[in-house]
Point group: C2
Chain length 152, copies 2
DNA sequence: TAAATACCGACTAAATCACTAGGGAAAGCG
DNA sequence: CGCTTTCCCTAGTGATTTAGTCGGTATTTA
């Protein structure tokens, strides 16, 4: 199970990415429309900003906008931001490799091998699917403002 | 990351499954040879017994043996035993379905859809690969005693 | 009967989760 | 300037989970 924090981050990102280009959404607005505790959401948006995913403006008519285009932001990247390494074993993480204590041989470890298969499978999805993809296939959702103009 | 508990469970299971048929391994033995805290391992083996995966004998020359054959025990089953539902979202779990609070529409939820893809991919691996599979493909490991006799 | 083993319940210290509290800093408006 | 609105930052807190430990009981076998 992913954390609420990560889930909130995705909700917020999807909202910001699907807003008309240039229009900043405030944390209060997003919190209200998506039932996310406001102060908690502020922290999350801050993290997304520090990660270089969002940009922000202060003061009246301030808020958050996308910094990078939505089609360059994968689910895996965001998930790692809030959950840490996604690998089921430390010895399978590329970013945060750590040898298992008491591991005799990684090459011979059946557990590593089997979980490696599972991890490969899910990583392939998580690291290739982007926020833009998710919005594009959405049955009701708009396409992201950064990619395609809405008809109107 | 999976818990130590689950990792210990896999180590112990693989050890018991690869022991000669009928030979019971004691918790102390497994703990020693695999660097697992003994009392902690006892709890884990108990859980595996309660789940109908292992059987046990008490007293001198007691220990643990497989109850079900190793090729009927998937990694997913064992993992669920110790980690609870594997689904990344409660609304994606078949066994332990729970609606997300504040979910307007599951069909329209982009997060659910994308994580559904990732979960499908890893579930396919985890629920199909068995303890026997893991031992069979092991470069150094023996084949499980329950399946095939060792040459000798 | 003694030793070895599985079985059982309670406890604990540390970490993580899901927030809340209480501000400060900057931008814009009048 | 001062006021409001927003983002920004740090600390704290109660509940839960993790990773065990501790101290024993029950059962089997030699």
């Amino acid at each position: 199970m992913i954390s609420n924090k990560a889930k909130y981050a995705f909700r917020a990102l999807l909202a910001i990415a699907s807003a008309p280009e240039g229009l900043a959404l405030t944390s209060a607005e997003i919190a209200r429309t998506h039932s996310i505790p406001h102060k908690f959401l502020e922290q999350i948006l801050l993290d997304l900003k520090k990660a270089g995913i969002l940009d922000s403006r202060r003061g009246k008519s301030g808020g958050y906008v996308m910094l990078r285009p939505a089609d360059t932001i994968s689910f895996g990247e965001v998930l790692r931001l809030f959950e840490g390494p996604l690998a089921p074993l430390p010895c399978l993480s590329r970013n945060a490799y750590r040898r298992c204590e008491d591991c005799v041989s990684e090459a011979a470890c059946e557990i590593r091998r089997e979980f490696g298969r599972a991890y490969d499978a899910s990583r392939l999805v998580l690291d290739s699917r982007t926020i833009a993809d998710a919005l594009r296939n959405s049955p009701y959702g708009a396409e992201p403002g950064h990619e395609v103009r809405r008809a109107g």
